[in-house]
């Protein structure tokens, strides 16, 4: 098992390198750079070329590509993301709190999605083609159909009107004040988790239906086991893997893609930062964000793979 884990961790290195090359080149293929973005932003397209060249030189954008790439890589190896091309501040400072917020929100939303998807999927499977099954289906599809920002606005309005209470609007890190923190993040987590539970619920339902048709379930019934034990001991372990996969794939998106939800709930997460960084052609910041999300994604995938091996003994040590 230990060697398997080490092997998997090492396998992440070439993947991350590939991501780095790709994002590095993609950013530079798109026309325009941070200098142009800044001056165009200020409404004066006719800035002197010299001034702009000077600025580029300061940012190192005049260097040959391989030079830029190796110095970026060198920094990454020392876990140094460098400075933001737009603000000039260290990227790590820009990202730190936002990453903490987005990571926590993604984890909470995934947890909500899992806690909804697994029981609802099992329920729908057990009550296949009854009104309960249809009710679960409607509930899931409604979650998909409602944009989570809209649901978010609804939540805020309901709390304001019914409870005369508003969730905190300023982010407090979990380690500073857990209550403030949760009081703020639980609502977007519910709104987003509900939406992303839909696919997981469908997956859980179909996986469960499939597993319940397996021969070993019949064997378990022939032993006289009660339904509850058959479900928990014999069916769930076999049916849960695809659901884990789906939710872990969604996780990466939740980490960096919640632009609108962040705005509704006034959260300074990675999503908005991502959009800004790209719009400003802030190469270093965009690169750092992409690497961060990619690494998290790979790590989550890795955890799921280990969970697979742990749940299904046939996979182990391969």
């Amino acid at each position: 098992m230990a060697s398997y884990i080490i092997k998997r961790l090492l396998a992440m290195v070439p993947t991350l390198f590939g991501v780095a090359v790709l994002i590095f080149l993609l950013l530079r293929v798109v026309p325009g750079d941070v200098v142009e973005a800044r001056y165009i932003g200020q409404g004066s397209q006719f800035q002197s070329q010299e001034l702009m060249q000077l600025e580029r030189k300061k940012l190192g954008l005049d260097q040959p590509l391989w030079r830029q790439f190796t110095s970026w890589m060198g920094g990454l190896l020392r876990l140094d993301f460098g400075l933001s091309m737009w603000t000039g501040a260290p990227i790590i400072e820009e990202i730190r709190l936002r990453f903490a917020l987005s990571l926590q929100l993604a984890i909470m939303a995934s947890t909500v999605a899992t806690l909804l998807a697994i029981p609802l999927g099992i329920l729908a499977a057990m009550k296949q083609d009854t009104w309960i099954d249809y009710a679960v289906r409607v509930f899931s599809i409604a979650g998909l159909a409602m944009p989570s920002f809209w649901l978010g606005i609804l939540i805020i309005l309901v709390m304001l009107i019914v409870f005369r209470w508003l969730p905190p609007m300023v982010f407090t890190p979990l380690w500073v004040n857990p209550w403030e923190n949760l009081a703020q993040l639980i609502w977007p987590a519910l709104a987003v988790g509900y939406r992303y539970s839909a696919v997981g619920t469908r997956m859980m339902r179909s996986a469960m239906l499939e597993v319940l048709r397996e021969d070993y379930i019949r064997t378990a019934r022939a032993k006289g086991l009660a339904l509850k034990l058959i479900l928990t001991r014999h069916a769930l372990k076999n049916a849960i893997l695809p659901v884990l996969t789906i939710i872990s794939l969604e996780f990466a998106f939740l980490l960096g893609g919640l632009v609108v939800t962040e705005q509704v709930f006034n959260l300074n997460g990675l999503g908005m930062l991502f959009v800004e960084a790209i719009a400003r052609r802030d190469y270093t910041l965009t690169q750092a964000l992409v690497m961060l999300v990619a690494t998290t994604f790979l790590l989550v995938n890795f955890v799921v793979d280990v969970a697979y091996a742990w749940i299904d003994p046939r996979i182990r040590y391969r």
Binding site: T219, K223, G224, L225, L229, N238, D312, P313, R314
Partner: protein, 334 residues
């Protein structure tokens, strides 16, 4: 009371499945019984309703498609069809054990052998986990799996097909049931291992006085291991006899066909093996007459008009459902 002598008596069992193609009458008014300690065989081609018969006894026919429409299943004098689901769970595994056809898929791949063996013991015999483990190791030894201690923590994929089937047998025997339903216990195995498994089943059933229903499509198996035989065709029993009598004097053309289609160990065969011509009938549209008539060499006009019932042909122990069974009485084997 004759009933009391019987361990299991199935009376007029009718089980059907609602499918897109229509109602499949998988088991169509079937009666058979098993005496304590005895081994009874249920024989027939694929799809004739053998598995459905056994699953009906266990009440493992899944609604809404499948339904036991009619009949009685008397186990130790009590009708299993009248039990609640909860009462029925006390019968499954405790009173009646089952061995399934597919050892590769009938064990849960993600649950340890030990867990799968002990869960029945903990449930039915109320053993604590230590006692259940000890018993599980003993059971593995009984079915010929040495080194049980280590085996308990393994998973099914670490077992060969034959070992899995031994494990299934251990599971079926765990709570000392009075009856074991073995549904084609060897069909999925190598020929050499088939014999070992059948010997094992016979030895254990003798040792513990467990009655057994062996389901098979292989009459060769029947001859060696069964006391009595029920031959099934298209959801009905068409012949029943003591194993020796059935072999020596089959009284239904279908049984005769089956005997000719398998190699026989008791005769030096230079005869060619003759498969039965034609296909088994579509169970959604059974003919009004005898279901075997379209494939039968002994067919007469009456066969298409009227289905024969199972009648005594040679004493009370030999029954056949054939209008022409008397023609088979005197050496129709040629």
């Amino acid at each position: 009371m004759a009933n009391m002598a019987k361990l299991l008596e199935v009376r007029g069992l009718r089980t059907s499945f609602a499918t897109a193609a229509g109602l499949v009458r998988a088991v169509d008014g079937v009666s058979w019984d098993v005496h304590p300690g005895e081994t009874v065989a249920l024989v027939g081609e694929s799809g004739c309703g053998k598995s459905v018969s056994a699953l009906s006894v266990m009440r493992l026919i899944d609604p809404p498609a499948g339904r036991i429409e009619d009949g009685a299943i008397l186990y130790k004098g009590q009708d299993l069809l009248s039990l609640s689901e909860q009462e029925m769970r006390q019968v499954r595994g405790r009173e009646i054990g089952m061995v399934f056809q597919e050892p590769m898929t009938s064990l849960n791949p993600v649950v340890t052998i030990g867990r799968q063996l002990t869960e029945g013991l903990e449930l039915h015999v109320k053993m604590d986990s230590a006692a259940a483990r000890t018993r599980a190791i003993e059971l593995l030894g009984m079915v010929g799996i040495p080194d049980g201690e280590r085996r308990l923590s393994q998973y099914p994929h670490q077992f060969s097909g034959g070992m899995r089937q031994r494990m299934m047998i251990a599971m079926a025997l765990a709570c000392r049931p009075s009856l074991i339903l073995a549904d084609e216990p060897t069909t999925a195995l190598d020929v050499t291992i088939q014999a070992q498994i059948l010997e094992l089943l016979r030895d254990l059933s003798r040792r513990f006085g467990v009655a057994m229903l062996i389901i098979t499509h292989n009459l060769g198996v029947v001859a060696r291991y069964a006391d009595r035989v029920n031959v099934m065709y298209a959801g009905r029993i068409i012949e029943r006899a003591a194993a020796a009598a059935l072999y020596a004097r089959p009284r239904h053309p279908y049984t005769l066909g089956l005997l000719r289609s398998v190699p026989r160990l008791d005769q030096p065969t230079r005869e060619r093996l003759l498969p039965i011509e034609g296909q088994p009938p579509d169970l959604t549209r059974l003919p009004p007459g005898c279901a075997f008539a379209p494939r039968c060499a002994f067919r007469v006009a009456r066969c298409d008009a009227e289905a024969p019932s199972l009648n005594e042909v040679d004493g009370a122990e030999h029954l056949a459902a054939c209008w022409e069974s008397s023609r088979l009485a005197g050496g129709a084997r040629a």
